[in-house]
Symmetry: C2
Subunit: 272 residues, 2 copies
């Protein structure tokens, strides 16, 4: 939670990526991460010096982002010596990240103590289930393919039981590093269109795997293997083993991160 | 326009595909086509005998389909001897087409003189433009990336001039084999959401490259390089050179083919 050093300017980035080829947001011992591609592109702007990039949400391997937010610090001198502007930073990072499926959609100058992660007060995720017998062709690696027909009505009933302030221990990865399992889930809503079931989840913050564990449990309800009330029982058990399995990463998208003040308001966001 | 032979049953298929890896719908001397993958999968059901598959719209290389329709003839004996049903045909074709990004979403038995191509009375296409400086990450190969800001208002004005019954010679590929250049364009509508411009086109049938040539011309209007009225002038010129360039295949999707009677009505379409 450190601010930018003297002589450095902090920049916020709005980032979109296809998670399929990556080991996740975070740097790993092996494999290519979204963070490492962004950091290597940024280091090209400072004679290959190391640059750290911090994200609002450290998405897992295979998870996609339409609206990830990150920040990084660059020498303030670049603004005068190299004419660095938000648009030029966006274009330079995109140039150096080719051909990875990562795009900086917008960049903005932010105060030195602003943090993409700790200043965020809202995260919105979308989970997409393709519910039909035929496998996905157009949406391959962007949906969870579930063949047996799911009934959205009991799924909605069960989802409503998870909304609110709860101890989400039953829906938290065992590796989760958050200090408290208490979270306030503001929205968990199903939208059904054709064979696609879209599940929208919103909260100030989520526990590790929380969305995927909730979706994996709702799927049991949709199949009729669980009654909706069993989800409330699983929540009350405060035991990961009491809830359903983790839904695959493919269907999960980080859609939006919210802040008290939108850092990209002046850039017109993704609008050209 | 031949019907099914004696002893053969005609089947309709609802087909979805990602056009990126294919040379197009139609068989070519080299490269993999959607038609050849489907035909090879079908031939596995008849001891590797040749099976011909006919589509409603012969999409070009790189063009996608969410709702292509095709038909094929199979020995009627398979229904009794192998218990062939619409669902089993769908599943068998999908099994044999793996791992190609093609999916038979539904299959249905149709009358022997029914044709996916000649019985069709409506085609709906969607063309997607991603209009922002940053290249697509999530929608790579599924949009036309246009960096300069497009103004949708004059584009809508120009699109309205193309709707109706016209000689579309100016928007027709020189290789187009249709006997008449007369077509009735029922809908050419822009829907703008964020950086995405979606252009919906509907007609009984289209000329070769007609949608892509119309989109390539509308883009000139959106950039301000053409006034909307120049599109009407280009249409009246009856000269391909008078209209704008062909928009790339990546952004084009065949969404739906219409028939007097929906062959998939009883299957519940893409619903499981």
């Amino acid at each position: 939670m450190t601010g930018a050093a003297d002589g450095a300017t902090r920049w916020a980035l709005l980032v979109e990526y296809d998670g399929t080829p990556f080991v996740g947001w975070q740097r790993q011992a092996t494999g290519v991460s979204v963070q490492s591609v962004l950091e290597q592109a940024a280091s090209r702007l400072v004679n290959d010096a190391a640059v750290a990039v911090t994200a609002a949400g450290r998405t897992d391997a295979g998870v996609h982002a339409a609206g990830q937010v990150a920040h990084l610090d660059l020498p303030t001198g670049l603004i005068e010596s190299r004419g660095l502007t938000p648009k030029r930073l966006r274009d330079a990072l995109n140039f150096h990240m080719r051909p990875h499926p990562i795009a900086v959609v917008a960049a903005a100058m932010v105060p030195p103590d602003w943090s993409a992660r700790f200043s965020a007060n809202r995260r919105r995720y979308l989970y997409r289930i393709l519910n039909r017998p035929a496998r996905p062709a157009l949406e391959r690696s962007r949906v969870w393919h579930v063949k047996p027909p799911l009934d959205p009505l009991p799924m909605r009933e069960a989802a409503a039981m998870l909304v609110g302030r709860h101890d989400f221990t039953s829906f938290r990865a065992t590796a989760c590093q958050a200090k408290s399992p208490l979270r306030t889930l503001d929205r968990l809503e199903l939208v059904v269109a054709g064979g696609l079931i879209e599940i929208h989840a919103e909260a100030r913050s989520f526990l590790h795997h929380q969305v995927r564990n909730m979706v994996g449990t709702l799927k049991l309800v949709g199949e009729g293997r669980w009654q909706p009330g069993q989800v409330a029982t699983a929540l009350a058990a405060l035991d990961r083993a009491a809830a359903g399995p983790t839904a695959p990463a493919d269907g999960l998208f980080l859609m939006e991160v919210g802040y008290a003040q939108d850092p990209f308001a002046e850039t017109g966001l993704s609008l050209p």
